[in-house]
């Protein structure tokens, strides 16, 4: 061993230089700093999409089927200015949020049961496999029987569309929590609900967040579709109703304005709620990468 002796180098000792006391963020060129900002980059994506839409619509030249971006924008601004669009959106949002919260609560109960007992696990996987593929219209008759017309039934189908995907995602997240973390939690004497709340939920938060995003989107889809069917009792129709009415009357620009409202809300909620949540939790905790 050590047969080929390498060049002998002398021992060296160094004087320790003091470290810089406080470090500032490295200066970036201005254009990179602007690009660094999420909103700006996404704004660019949006502008490009709008341009593509405009071009496509002009080329198709069939504004009863596909109005241009500008036409839609005009209808959107008119709808907002007249207050109609905002009122309808408010009605929809209130139903949506209520159902979303109920759905989250129900998913939480189901997955907590599944985390605690084998019966709960069987129940969860059987129920999701059964009910998740059922379209809202299938539940309509049953909903009518139990909740009558109006909000009750609407919320029933909305909960249906929130509950299952969220429960699936959350359960998958729970099951993937690392063994060592589980052991740590149980070592603290945590059991039952406290174990779920203090260990499983935070540890599975990335999965839960993706479930929340998915079910938020599906709640919208279902709401718009269900309001078409359920329509409005006593003139209190929401966004879906607005879309439906205008579609029937072939005011396609207003239809797209209504849909644009859904898109805008989707973008705002993504940017303000979900991104913020991610930044404050999983990214801060190093459980989710921010860059590649």
């Amino acid at each position: 061993m050590n047969a080929a002796v390498l060049t002998v180098r002398p021992d060296v000792e160094y004087v320790l230089s003091a470290a810089p006391p406080a470090l500032k963020p490295r200066a970036l060129p201005a254009w990179r700093r602007v690009l660094q900002h999420d909103g700006v980059r996404r704004g660019i994506v949006l502008v490009v999409l709008a341009a593509v839409w405009e071009a496509l619509a002009r080329w198709q030249a069939n504004d009863l089927l596909l109005p241009t971006f500008v036409q839609t924008l005009r209808a959107f601004v008119e709808g907002v200015a007249s207050g109609e669009l905002l009122v309808k959106t408010g009605i929809s949002l209130s139903v949506l949020l209520k159902s979303y919260v109920i759905g989250i609560a129900a998913a939480f109960v189901l997955t907590s049961l599944a985390a605690a007992t084998r019966v709960g696990r069987d129940l969860l996987s059987t129920l999701t496999a059964m009910f998740n593929p059922l379209p809202a219209i299938a539940l309509l008759p049953v909903a009518l029987l139990w909740f009558g017309l109006g909000q009750g039934s609407l919320m029933f189908v909305l909960v249906h569309s929130v509950l299952w995907p969220l429960a699936l995602a959350t359960h998958a997240g729970f099951q993937a929590v690392p063994e060592t973390l589980r052991m740590a939690g149980r070592n603290y004497g945590l059991r039952g609900l406290r174990y779920v709340l203090q260990i499983l939920v935070p540890a599975a938060l990335p999965a839960i967040l993706s479930g929340l995003k998915i079910s938020w989107a599906f709640a919208w889809r279902t709401l718009i579709a269900a309001e078409l069917v359920f329509g409005a009792s006593s003139g209190k129709g929401g966004l879906g109703w607005y879309i439906f009415q205008n579609r029937n009357e072939l005011y396609t620009d207003r239809v797209f304005a209504g849909l644009a409202m859904v898109v805008v809300i989707g973008l705002v909620v993504e940017a303000l709620v979900f991104r913020t949540l991610e930044r404050l939790t999983v990214q801060r905790w190093g459980m989710q990468r921010t860059n590649q």
Binding site: P178, R186, Y188, G286
Partner: protein, 278 residues
């Protein structure tokens, strides 16, 4: 410490203590599923850990030390035999046994270093918020991480994570402390400091310690009793008394000789003749 320390009193003979071990393993075997069949990790191990013991589990990599410790922690159920703590069978984990795991990912990543130390104190309702905060401060200082109290685990080095886990377990001031190679990721000096702290705390509170290590010197210095395990599957090879060793006599001839003897017990194929049936 919750339990009043049982001192060998004048009216009780010294053997009285050994008559009621705090922790008793009786013919414990543990199997893991592997593909279609089972693999035995530890095989018929019997051990008695007395109140106030600093009991070391020593053995080669893969000999079942962690498995045994997890069984004492209540995380793994033996397939044979029984583990009793103060006469009651261990069926589940609990905050009466604080555990330092071997893995680096034992710290909930969503809690800062300080919150990580506070977490079990508050979860197990060991003490009030204020006392918990004081304890956290104290034990973080003891492991040299006071400056990092507000960092998140992913911002720490491997050794720093282990030290947080140590602080967390010590802050619990449990009756029974289970530590799985807690100092393996630490440099000589930090390790020495941690060993010192551990022994000083033991001196103060006289808890019972079950300590897994793969370093013979550490076993001799930290433990007062050493169980030596043989691998594949883990079986008990010997039990050695090491009460007499400490930092002060780490260079002594007795120390060296015992080190050599343990080395032999650990790594030489046992000669049947030398064995003494227990």
């Amino acid at each position: 410490m919750q339990l009043p320390l049982t001192q060998p009193g004048a009216d009780a003979p010294p053997q009285a203590l050994s008559a009621t071990p705090l922790l008793q393993l009786a013919q414990v075997s543990i199997d893991y599923p592997q593909g279609e069949h089972w693999v035995r990790a530890t095989h018929q191990i019997s051990l008695s850990v007395m109140q106030g013991d600093r009991f070391v589990l020593l053995g080669a990599s893969g000999c079942g030390k962690s498995t045994l410790l997890k069984a004492i922690g209540g995380f793994v159920t033996p397939s044979e035999g029984s583990i009793t703590l103060a006469g009651r069978r261990i069926t589940q984990p609990g905050p009466d046994r604080a555990v330092v795991f071997q893995e680096f990912d034992q710290l909930p990543p969503w809690k800062t270093v300080r919150e990580n130390v506070l977490f079990p104190l508050l979860a197990a309702r060991r003490c009030g918020r204020k006392e918990a905060a004081e304890r956290a401060e104290l034990y973080l200082a003891k492991v040299g991480l006071a400056k990092f109290a507000d960092a998140y685990p992913h911002q720490l080095s491997g050794g720093m994570k282990q030290r947080v886990a140590i602080a967390r377990a010590l802050a619990m001031q449990p009756e029974l402390l289970l530590m799985d190679e807690p100092f393996a990721a630490l440099d000589a000096l930090t390790r020495r400091r941690m060993q010192d702290e551990l022994l000083a705390l033991w001196d103060e509170f006289r808890f019972t310690l079950v300590f897994v290590t793969h370093a013979i010197e550490e076993a001799l210095v930290v433990g007062n009793r050493i169980a030596i395990l043989s691998p594949h599957p883990g079986r008990l090879r010997a039990e050695i008394d090491s009460e007499r060793f400490g930092f002060n006599n780490a260079g002594s001839a007795d120390f060296q000789a015992t080190t050599q003897r343990i080395h032999g017990l650990l790594f030489e194929t046992p000669r049947a003749a030398a064995g003494v049936e227990a």
